[in-house]
Amino acid sequence: MLNRKKTAFSAALFFVLAAPAVLNAQTDEDAIMMTKKNLCIGGTYTHGSWDHYWEGTFKRSNQNLGTVSTQSVMLMGNYGITDKLNFIVGAPYVWTHATAGTLHGQHGVQDLSAWLKWDALDLKAGKGVLSIYFLGGGSIPLTNYIADFLPLSIGLQSKTLSGRLLVDYQVGNIFATASGTFTGRSDITIDRDAYYTTSLHLTNRVDMPNTASWHVRAGYRSNWLIAEATFTKSYTLGGFDIRKNDMPFPGNKMNATMAGADFKYTLPKKWNALSIVGGGMYTLNGRNVGQAMSWDAGVFYVLDFSHKAKKHNTAGKKL
């Protein structure tokens, strides 16, 4: 089943970070697979906001921004190509707002992101099951939204390519998952033809450094309920700090440490194609990002295109 998550709401967590580097959708960050020929579709609403941010390592507020909020509605699909290979795709509509100052909020369709998830190995280990997954993903902007308007831009316009390794261990209904991700980001083109980072660049192309992150989650997992705590650290592998009283810029070095919790509830009996999800996250520490608090809620429905009645997903996980 699909348990959607933060995705492009990094806008809340970071100034903005395009998927899938922060496509922390539970499906691409969890050890659950759709069974063959099952399609899970649904949507999630996310709200994130911050009124403090890190200018480099200096935490401050900005009375000319007030509270910056990012909201999004994301539509997602997860299709079981086989029991061991899933294809996940999603795209959000994002809108931003600042409660103070005069800057105009932005809104629009952001990036399309997609993942291929391969359950490479499941083996008995002790009393439980150890699983190893490989994921490859990418994202591409769907519209020509403005990137160089942080903190109110809805995305960064970079095309990305990611690789992730995910390891999961479950004993009974208790589980823990750990994953590491590397994301390559393409350079972007901005509207102005000169900009200053640590020197003056006479070009409209901006170098976008790659990013990396690691993530753990642990909790309770069964066919009808998942409840977990999450922890993420993400890093930008390069870039520069926001200078004192300057505005943020897409090429900044954006790092964040975030903690949160999610749940997914699958309705009982004949309604079990439907599930509701929800969760929240808080930025504990960061660099050139907002100290964001976000929450989300969503609904998902599974369509079974196979001709046999079977379980919708492998969350039960018995070997």
């Binding site: 005069t102 990418g138 020509n144 390559g184 980001r185 102005r192 200053y196 004192k244 300057d246």
Partner: protein
């Protein structure tokens, strides 16, 4: 297997779209400056400040047969025998043109220092202090008027220094090292110019010396660039160390004359005082007008309110007063109410193309500023002209004196009328770029762009209509952004052209046409 190839295929597709290219400056690969005409009589052109080109003495160079000169040649040969790749890079970089490269250095300095100070704990704002430039906020805050003055002084000083340089080149006629000794390679092309004093070293000396006044924190960094250029000049075979020393000394002396003028040009008092800031409010209220208010939180004092009193290069103070247009619509008038409503409607329906135009011309915080943008436009066009360094400097000086005087006129008008931004009249007007902390009428972008387009259109007539179109787009960008009334931009274009015409008058009489 099928799933593996599928994975690979998807991966490859995304790889193509996600590839990282090395981002470089668009002026990185320029060829050496190869002027069609070296303007050998430029020593007769009219300087800006110097009363005569030989105001500062340059000693007769030693003969090319002298052992001192032979030692200079041996230094070049020694460098050329073991040129490092870094040195080759420096030769290539500086040979594209000294005026061009120092203009890029100036733009970088302006962008580096163009950030408004962060507030104190009590909500007041610290002011950069030239007497203590390394303390936060570092001196200077190179906002648009400061930047216009910085570009103006450096460009004018470079021009006067090169006029003097050309005077002495013609007087002493010392051949370049690669002409004296055929074993010396001309690595930056053969200019046919006499090498004493070295024009590259003159430019380095002028600019480095001006840092004492304009960017005191950067004296050390700019000195390093001077040394890089001087080594490149010598290693390229274009100049000897004696050519370079004489050039640098001449440049520094010319700069000192400009620094003396600058210290008395009233820019130092442009910040004003709290009493002066309060006076603008009471004056506006006495005229039944809503006074300008800072839209920043905490409220920030108005930016350089007395900059309109700075001594211009082209326009004296009487001319600045004569350039003043009539008032904007009264803040209580129906006309202004209608313009405010139009501004709200514009911002609520902004298109992506309008946003692009706003961002392209914004030139706000942490940028080269609007005059800097026009320097970049001019530089790109000047590169194609194959002018001599002295003509480059003359044209950059005309542009930047026009921009400095446009800043003076613009700030004179802004603080004469002290009128509000649209968002002050209607807080529903949100903006697509930050609102600068000074009154609206007239638009600085419109004035800078129109003045620049006017003088540049005179220098390059084939580009005149393109420049006018760019200036109009720059003016429009401020209306699209929601930060100006249309009248601010329309009148700004007109007054800017008037300022530009003073630059044209000078251009027609300076001996270069």
């Amino acid at each position: 297997m099928k799933r593996n190839t599928f994975c690979l295929a998807v991966g490859a597709f995304f790889l193509l779209t996600a590839c990282n290219k090395n981002v470089s400056n668009h002026t990185d690969g320029l060829p050496p400056l190869a002027p069609a005409d070296q303007d050998l009589n430029a020593g007769n052109w009219k300087p800006v400040l110097l009363s005569r080109p030989d105001t500062f003495a340059v000693a007769t160079p030693v003969a090319t047969s002298s052992p001192l000169y032979v030692a200079d040649l041996n230094e070049i040969k020694g460098l050329q025998a073991r040129l490092t790749s870094d040195q080759r890079g420096q030769i290539a970089y500086w040979s594209a043109g000294g005026v061009l490269r120092w203009n890029e250095v100036m733009r970088e300095l302006v962008a580096k220092y163009n950030i408004p100070p962060y507030q104190n704990a009590d909500g007041s704002y610290p002011i950069p202090n030239a007497a203590n430039p390394f303390a936060y906020p570092n001196f200077p805050f190179s906002n648009p008027p400061y930047a216009a003055r910085a570009y103006g002084y450096v460009a004018a000083a470079q021009y006067d220094a090169l006029v003097a340089c050309w005077f002495y080149k013609a007087k002493y006629n010392r051949p370049a090292p690669y002409k004296v000794d055929s074993t010396i390679k001309a690595m930056a092309g053969k200019t046919g110019l006499s090498s004493y004093p070295s024009e590259g070293a003159v430019l380095a000396g002028v600019t480095a010396e001006m840092m004492q006044l304009l960017f005191p924190d950067e004296i050390a960094n700019v000195q390093q660039k001077l040394e890089q250029q001087e080594l490149a000049l010598i290693a390229s075979g274009a100049a000897t160390r004696s050519d370079v020393s004489a050039g640098e000394a001449l440049g520094r002396q010319v700069a000192d004359a400009f620094i003396a003028r600058a210290r008395a040009d009233r820019a130092g008092a442009a910040v004003g005082t709290p009493a002066i800031w309060a006076q603008y409010v009471t004056t506006a209220q006495a005229a039944q007008q809503t006074p300008w208010l800072s839209l920043e939180t905490p409220a920030r004092p108005p930016m350089l309110p007395l900059f309109g009193k700075v001594k211009g290069f082209l326009c004296d103070s009487a001319t600045i007063v004569a350039l003043r247009p009539g008032p904007p619509p009264s803040t209580s008038s129906d006309d202004l109410k209608a313009q405010t409503a139009a501004a709200l409607k514009q911002i609520q329906n902004a298109t992506r193309e309008q946003m692009r135009i706003v961002q392209y011309w914004a030139d706000g915080v942490a940028t080269v500023s609007p005059p800097g943008h026009w320097n970049a436009i001019a530089a790109d066009d000047f590169v194609r002209q194959n002018w001599s360094e002295v003509r480059w400097a003359r044209n950059m000086a005309l542009l930047n004196m026009a921009e400095m005087d446009a800043a003076i006129s613009c700030w004179d008008i802004k603080y004469f009328y002290f009128n509000p931004r649209p968002t002050q009249m209607d807080p529903n007007i949100k903006t697509l770029t930050g609102i600068p902390n000074f009154p609206a009428y007239v638009s600085g972008h419109s004035m800078f762009s129109s003045a620049a387009a006017t003088i540049l259109g005179h220098i390059l007539p084939s580009r005149a209509s393109a420049y006018q179109a760019m200036a109009q787009e720059a003016a429009n960008s401020r209306v699209f952004a929601g930060i100006h009334y249309k009248v601010d931009c329309e009148v700004g274009i007109t007054v800017g052209a008037n300022v530009g015409n003073y630059a044209i008058k000078r251009a027609q009489t300076d001996g270069a046409e």
